[in-house]
Symmetry: C2
Subunit: 142 residues, 2 copies
């Protein structure tokens, strides 16, 4: 199978969640109701942006957050089922990417894994029952 | 003014453009006709992804590409005029961001500048007459 040609979420790992939320609100963006004390979401035309503590973002992948390693940004492709997560990860590996984290149940209630592309950009492939997917493949942030 | 709540393009700085294009094609994505020997574009549901040599991407911002610095990814907000580029950059600075590159004519025929958010994520704000903007704010990749 192929991986759906979609970019659902860009998550920025931030040093201080409150300060960063204040910055993005100050440029005029409205925090989504899906936000909580752990992560902030902003619905954008196109994909969505998440703000999440940088160290926790690296830990979610299972990589060190340090010099020359994790760049602080993850990209996410949301799919419609757990099976599609596993299939997409397998496709990425078959294409020459590397499996950074196999598909597994996530504490936030969904299922996800990560692959790294040739330059160690981390792509999460996720099934999140809380974020419906529109007919065009984009996610519908609450 | 506020900055439009949109994410138009994510550009990945890659070590070897040909190899990375082959990887993304191998997962089933189709290169846009807007691609050329210098940069590859993939239209995705949501935003678009660009692949561009990492060193050149850092150079376009005007930052060093090295340990602890540039993370290899830029995010772009495309707007409808040069004036809107300058206004968005000013808004970002007023919100506490920093101006990484002031708005200026770009060799690719448009006008762009960069701001950095609180965690040194680089956002390009660009007017690109070649990439029309749809009513919902998303870009229409050729």
């Amino acid at each position: 199978m192929t991986i759906p040609a979609r970019l659902s979420i860009v998550t920025l790992g931030v040093a201080d969640l409150g300060r960063s939320v204040a910055f993005y609100e100050a440029i005029g963006w409205t925090r989504s109701a899906a936000s909580n004390d752990d992560i902030a979401w902003f619905a954008l035309a196109g994909c969505a942006i998440g703000l999440f503590p940088r160290g926790e973002l690296a830990a979610d992948i299972g990589v060190p957050d340090g010099a020359g390693g994790f760049g602080g940004i993850t990209l996410a492709i949301n799919v419609e089922s757990e099976q599609l997560v596993d299939a997409a990860l397998a496709t990425a590996v078959a294409a020459g990417g590397s499996l950074a984290k196999s598909g597994q149940r996530a504490e936030w209630g969904g299922y996800s894994g990560y692959f790294a592309d040739l330059d160690a950009n981390y792509w999460e492939v996720a099934f999140n029952p809380e974020f419906p997917i529109a007919a065009d493949g984009s996610i519908l942030l609450p």
